[in-house]
Amino acid sequence: MGAALETTLNRRKAALRPRRSARPRAAVAGCGAISATGAGVESLADALRENRSALRANAAYAGRGYQTTVAGWVPEETIAQLAARNPDYADARAFLLADAALREAENGLPTVAAERRALVLSTTKADILALERVFHRQPCSETAHRHVLPRLLAYDLAEAHQVRGPVQCVSTACISGLLALQQGASLIERGEADMVLVAAVDLVSHFVLAGFTSLKSFDVEGCRPFDSRRTGLSLGEGAGAVALVRRDLLPSPAWTIAGWGSSNDANHLTGPSRDGSGLALAINRALQRAAVAAGEIDYVNAHGTGTPYNDNMESLALRTVFGQDIPPCSSNKGMFGHTLGAAGVLETIVCLLAARSGTLPGTPRLSEPDPVAPKSMLTQPQPAARLRCLLKINSGFGGANAALVLREDRS
């Protein structure tokens, strides 16, 4: 990074003034997850404890000329179980996954009137499998066909989960998940809802495999985030859900969505800026909104796709914000792949699980850390000395960057 740029960023950092808001805060009341690690948050917690990679090849997609079929595939038996429980949506895979994650997140929560419940959906391609079937004139239920359009998937999820308040659908590349959490928290802060169900889902399909193959973006053996031998990413499919409620509806302590920020690199459509300045800007915006100093962050969950450019850019951005004292950090994409529109929410759930267990996640499939990577990059899980403030970051196509700060509130 150029010295001038560093100086500019440091000056901006110094100019940031913490601010506290008197408005209601959004707190996390429940989580749900389905990924390559299996169904339910506990299956994800198990995989985190074991630092296990669930990436695998998929014979059903072999022989089609893709760079690789290694990805974070949701087990077919999990899909079959969900379809059996929900026969009206049997071929509506995106709905099945998101609905199951939402049911888990909502389980045992306080009752909130339907008019005060909102839903924010994050997705990049919604039911892309349905789109492929429609295009190839293969059988497709009317329900799945509707879900070709993300907003209709959002409306159907809202109806299934008794939501009569605002419904939003965020589709902003791979930062969609963090923006959906931001939108959910904002709805609560603005008094437009008492509970917001944030759901995120994306599927692996021929479309996305062909797309990333055309860009030669894959690591054929499976991604190795921040590893010196990394060559690319691995896709993943799955769904995550976070139920946000007004902070005063939960007992203490509770984890709040304390701050968020986004930015655009204004540089390139499919590649990140080389100096990480855009991501640093988003992180600083999130810290400012949360009124949290960089030194208060206890853990960073990185985007960490495993592409050479992304991981370099991210390392530079973290160095810009934290200097030489980068907090412990890790990436989960070697575990369940890059879940695109679901990534921000699933990886935020990883942060919350780390807080619950007091153990920082490792970085599956990272064995030889790149010299450029932060020295605090964790290869294996390790006990945390303190977990009060957590930072989640994502970047994506179109020069998109986003950051979210989670803070434990004991008041």
Binding site: T124, F135, H145, L149, L152, C169, L179, A210, G211, S262
Partner: protein
Amino acid sequence: MSDIVIKAAGWIGPDGFGNELAGLKDWPAPLADALRRGELEELRWSKLFDSEAQRFARMDWLSRLGLMAVELLDTRFEAWAAQDREQTAVCVETTCGCLTSDAEFLQLARPSVFAYTLPSTVIGEICIRHRFKGPMLCLMSSGESTRTVIDEAAVWLREGEAKACLCVGCEAVSPDAAALLSPGMVLENSWRAYALLLGRKSGDPREHQLAGGTLAEICRRVCRAVGRC
């Protein structure tokens, strides 16, 4: 009384193009029929296409229309945009998003098309052209939710997260893409785009306040122009 105002508005659609100062201009006769039929290839715009012809040729129509609507904002936009590009946000709403590029990619997988199979790519194009680095958001909305992106923009402005916000709505649905929509879905308009520049009140008499009749009127005009009354 709101302190957030619309600084400028521009729109483009089958019935014409314009901004809030010049009003709606009709397409010239030979072009009008083709554009009403959705034949966008007939649409050429020297202001954009000549200067960066190669770049525009690569773009999908969602991005091209979004950029055109932004270009239709008058010179006050240029002045605003130059003030603080790092603090200018971009908020996009679209109903069908990138379905046209999806259909094209399904026909033939090419990296140049794949980059446009995200509805938010138009934000990247706008930010690259104008070097905006502020907050960004792309919402997949229903036809009547223009108010949502304006609301989001107003929140960003009030909370100091941005000094100006560009709200862009765009649709570009080719016949191939329309064929992928579920039965019963009626498209009011297969293509259109609008851009609104929002900022804090500065005293310029041409500013349109976000609350009150003036905004309602400008929104009605934008909606009429883009066929979304």
